[in-house]
């Protein structure tokens, strides 16, 4: 199948409209007559709402209605994770959320809502309302390990010690293995911080009645799943809801949870189907949507002098926040990756997912792997140093070898990916020269360079259902529209799907149009986009459906050309007789004839579902070169190069864009991003774009993205996941580079000035003479 479009840097199909500014996002589509909803959030980290006096707030001119947790007569607990529903109860997500609760479990939990004619009236009423809530305050706990101790406040009865789940893995016998003489032990505690997605379009949805149903238009990654969850949250038939997803201004996993769609739909229903809009302000996006899990690791490795691993153990505590959302899946993914990245015969591992009175952690680009990759790769660097081996060589020696097969997931490493990526990256950034040049520096400003890798797979088989459906409809001129369950959220799913369809059906790309906005009434069922499944999973249903359509086309061609189907093909929009290459008719002529013929008129369309039962490793590496200004405790990233093996690259321009975005999120994760809470009150401290330090234009060097293309045998188009992998190796690479530059190897994130100051002081790199007098003075 020689491809005309696959592999080409084709322009995004929606780029033109976005550059013109005429593309419509949720807020652009909502009629100005919509009533405004503002959510009333709890101002205690744990407590019971005793009463909410709404009388004063109701007097504010423009207020239409005020709802409180006491208006929830039937409590329908519902799961919020964007997971495909499971018919097996044991696999179903934990349903522990209410649209409004009288038992807030974190500062920012939803306990009420104001509905007003405009945003000013709504915020006025909200400020009054916030002062008229009576709480019974309860003690709270913010740290995962503290939450597990006896006597810690219990968030959910069904989960003693706040442990949502605890899983273990055991291979061989660590106990025995570590008795081998001459082993070198390397042990470390590693800790990652909570961060937020910061998509520039806040979550927003609006709802209105239509017949006996409710339509919810929402900025979501998972419209079909959202419809199911709204049904569960309101206790109504799922078919009573229709979810429409317009263009989305970034999701990164936050919009893979069902956020305020249920509350918005419920309010519209209470108001007889009036049009109501819930537009989450940035400050509430930070604390009342989803964040990334902060995970603490303790990893120990025993190595032989030649650098091979004898035994390894890992423990991980995953801070899940107040509600389950994605539950144990994030921690489990990390634990599952540990024995695969650096295989070893003797491994003991366990991980806990723990409830705390903090904002809810859910899916965020990488789904546990950025955290795990930081711990694994920081530990790997420390292991190499412990035995005095070059860190890159140490990795090449221990990383998953070619041919590795993972029984549970049936994943297999078909190619020498790691070495190919390391070689290519080293060559681009000039790693080997720079490592020598930066070997031992003494000045105030020093440079360092390092590389890191990561483990990642594609989609969620076999842990959960992987299914994709596609419908392609041909018009009279031979052009087609296609619809997919996989949603466009900026990653380019529509464009790559169009490239696939054009090549597989055999028509010019200009004749292929996505129906981009999913509408659960019309779009074939699909679970949306997450777990970097987009290109991989949609490829299966797209190819299958495209081939079905082609079959019908060639049968129709037989009718009009009299040639047997096996001597016909559709190439670049023309029906061709393969025996002599003659072009018999254009696809336009065929489509027109087939539709309007009085002999067997037929509408050329195809629709099919493909259930994916395979997975694919998607690995890559990151090289980071840094300059550390020790006195100023500042790190400047000089160069960053990511090389990824995501199989056949469908669109190099869009693929590079995914890598750049991942690198950027990784840089912020490494150097400056961190959500903080006040320990005394549980109140968030920096929930806005000023105090939460997401990278700006001036915090990035040029980002370099490159690829190693090993065609993935299991994949419909040889592709593997790419959305999330680029985030994973960046933070460890930067940490290791800082270590190479200064000799100070830090085990926590972010590597901000505060952290560097403490670590450089402990390491003696910073020793202010006046510091002793200062302590003296303070001691007095």
């Amino acid at each position: 199948m020689s491809n005309k479009y696959i592999g080409q840097a084709v322009t995004r199909l929606d780029a033109h409209d976005k550059a013109m500014g005429r593309i419509k996002y949720t807020d652009d589509m909502c009629d100005k007559s919509a009533l405004v909803i503002r959510v009333l959030h709890s101002t205690v980290a744990n407590g019971i709402v005793k009463s909410i006096d709404t009388s004063e707030a109701e007097k504010v001119p423009g207020v239409v209605r005020i709802f409180t947790c006491f208006d929830i007569k039937e409590k329908h607990y519902f799961p919020t994770a964007g997971h495909p529903w499971s018919t097996d109860p044991h696999h179903q997500d934990i349903a522990d959320r209410l649209i409004m609760t009288d038992h807030p479990l974190f500062y920012g939990d939803d306990i009420g809502a104001v509905v007003a004619e405009d945003e000013v009236a709504a915020s006025q009423a909200l400020r009054i309302l916030e002062k008229s809530v009576v709480y019974e305050e309860l003690p709270f706990v913010l740290d995962a390990q503290e939450a597990m101790e006896e006597g810690a406040p219990l968030l959910h009865e069904k989960f003693p010690n706040n442990v949502l789940a605890h899983t273990e893995i055991h291979m061989g016998s660590v106990e025995e293995a570590i008795k081998e003489p001459g082993l070198i032990k390397c042990e470390g505690w590693y800790e990652t911080q909570p961060v937020q997605h910061c998509h520039i379009e806040n979550f927003i949805c609006y709802a209105y009645g239509e017949g006996d149903r409710t339509v919810v238009v929402s900025s979501t990654q998972i419209p079909h799943i959202a419809r199911r969850v709204i049904g569960q949250a309101t206790g109504m038939d799922w078919g009573k809801f229709r979810v429409i997803k317009p263009y989305v201004g970034g999701g990164f996993g936050n919009k893979q949870d069902v956020l305020y769609e249920p509350l918005c739909a419920w309010i519209s229903i209470q108001l007889g189907g009036r049009l109501v809009k819930l537009d989450v302000p940035r400050e509430e996006t930070f604390i009342s949507n989803r964040i990334r899990h902060a995970i603490k690791y303790h990893i120990t490795s025993w190595m032989r002098p030649d650098g091979s691993f004898a035994a390894r153990t890992i423990k991980a505590w995953c801070n899940n926040g107040a509600y389950s959302s994605h539950g144990h899946a994030i921690a489990a993914k990390g634990l599952n990756a540990f024995p695969q990245l650096y295989p070893c015969d003797n491994i003991d591992g366990e991980t806990w997912t723990v409830y705390t009175n903090r904002s809810v952690a859910g899916a965020m680009r990488g789904y546990g792997m950025p955290q795990a990759s930081y711990a694994f790769e920081v530990h790997a660097e420390d292991c190499a140093r412990a035995i005095g081996m070059d860190p890159l060589e140490f990795r090449r020696k221990n990383l998953m070898p070619v041919g590795y097969y993972h029984a549970f997931s049936k994943n297999e490493l078909y190619s020498d990916t790691f070495n190919q990526c390391f070689d290519k990256g080293a060559e681009i950034i000039g790693y080997y020269d720079k490592v020598k040049k930066y070997a031992n520096q003494t000045g105030d400003i020093r440079r360092g360079i390092a590389a890191s890798t990561f483990w990642y797979n594609t989609a969620v088989y076999p842990i959960a259902l992987e299914t994709s459906s596609c419908r392609i409809v041909m018009n009279q001129d031979g052009s087609v529209q296609f619809q997919l369950g996989e949603t466009e959220i900026g990653q380019g799913a529509d464009t790559v799907a169009a490239q696939m369809i054009a090549d597989t059906v055999g028509i010019p790309l200009s004749m292929v149009h996505p129906v981009s906005c999913q509408d659960t009434d019309i779009t074939p069922f699909g679970t949306g986009v997450y777990a970097s499944r987009g290109t991989y999973t949609l490829g299966f249903s797209v190819r299958q459906t495209a081939l079905l359509l082609k079959e019908k086309i060639l049968e129709a061609a037989h009718q009009f050309t009299r040639m047997p189907v096996y001597n016909l093909d559709l190439i670049d929009g023309k029906i061709v007789r393969t025996t002599d290459g003659r072009e018999l008719m254009t696809i336009g002529e065929l489509a027109l004839s087939k539709l309007y013929t009085t002999e067997g008129s037929q509408h050329l369309t195809a629709e099919s579902t493909y259930q994916i039962k395979s997975n694919a490793y998607s690995f890559g590496v990151c090289f980071a070169e840094v300059e550390v200004d020790i006195p100023m405790c500042r790190v400047r990233l000089l160069n960053i190069v990511n090389v990824h093996d995501c199989g056949q690259v469908i669109n190099p321009l869009l693929a590079a864009g995914q890598v750049h975005g991942g690198q950027s999120m990784g840089i912020g994760y490494a150097l400056s991003e961190k959500m903080m809470w006040d320990a005394k009150t549980g109140r968030p401290l920096n929930n806005n774009l000023l105090d939460y330090k997401m990278s700006s234009f001036m915090d990035h060097p040029r980002l370099v993205a490159d690829f190693v293309e090993n065609y993935e045998p299991t994949s419909a188009y040889g592709t593997k996941g790419l959305g999330e992998p680029p985030v994973c190796p960046v933070a460890p690479a930067i940490r290791n580079a800082i270590g190479q530059a200064t000799g100070v190897y830090i085990n926590e994130l972010p590597l901000s000035p505060h952290t560097l100051f403490r670590e450089f002081t402990d390491a003696g790199l910073i020793n202010d003479p006046w510091r002793k007098e200062e302590q003296g003075k303070e001691a007095k």
Binding site: R22, I200, M665
Partner: protein, 183 residues
């Protein structure tokens, strides 16, 4: 307190506008709700993210923290104004399309307006100056890389430096001068 209204006279995208506004309205409100220019986006409404940037008398402003009544007598440009009568894209818009500088597209309108100001300034910005000029916009999808390329290329083309423009994409790794250690 009775509501206060005022007629704002200004030119928006080259067209004379007389718009009655509630004096409490931000310029973003007027542009989006009254003039239906929905390319102006709301990302934070506190002047941080830049998604609401419009050009006022030649300079980029966050329209979310700019009162509509202050637009009196001003000349305002939004992304809708950059597109030609027949839908033709200006060269900076086309560069954003060609360089893959657009992913989700939510920060794009703001970015293009500031870039339009840069490339029409006639000045040649160094790389660092370019980053600083564009630093009033936050983006989570692109890591700013392809945006940097699109703007630098268009700037160089405006200055007639076409070969140099074509080299922009290949400049991956940057070699920095030795740090001047403060000894």
């Amino acid at each position: 307190m009775a509501k206060q209204y005022k007629v704002v006279h200004c030119t928006v995208n080259g067209k004379e506008i007389e718009q009655v506004v509630d004096v409490r309205s931000s310029l973003t409100d007027m542009l989006r709700n009254d003039l239906h220019l929905t390319s102006v986006k709301k990302g934070c409404e506190v002047g941080e993210c830049g998604a609401c940037t419009v050009i006022i008398n030649g300079e980029g402003f966050n329209s979310c923290i700019y009162l509509a009544v202050w637009a009196e007598g001003k000349e305002i440009w939004t992304l809708e104004g950059l597109t030609g009568p027949g839908g033709e894209l200006s060269d900076i818009q086309q560069a954003f399309v060609d360089e893959g500088a657009i992913q989700c597209g939510f920060c794009t309108p703001g970015f293009i307006m500031t870039s339009w100001e840069i490339v029409n300034s006639g000045k040649e910005y160094t790389d660092d100056e370019l980053r600083k000029a564009l630093s009033g916009h936050l983006c989570r999808c692109t890591g700013y890389e392809n945006i940097f390329r699109a703007v630098k290329k268009t700037m160089l083309r405006h200055l007639g430096k076409y070969e140099e423009a074509e080299l922009v994409n290949s400049q991956g790794i940057t070699e920095y001068p030795e740090p001047m250690p403060f000894k």
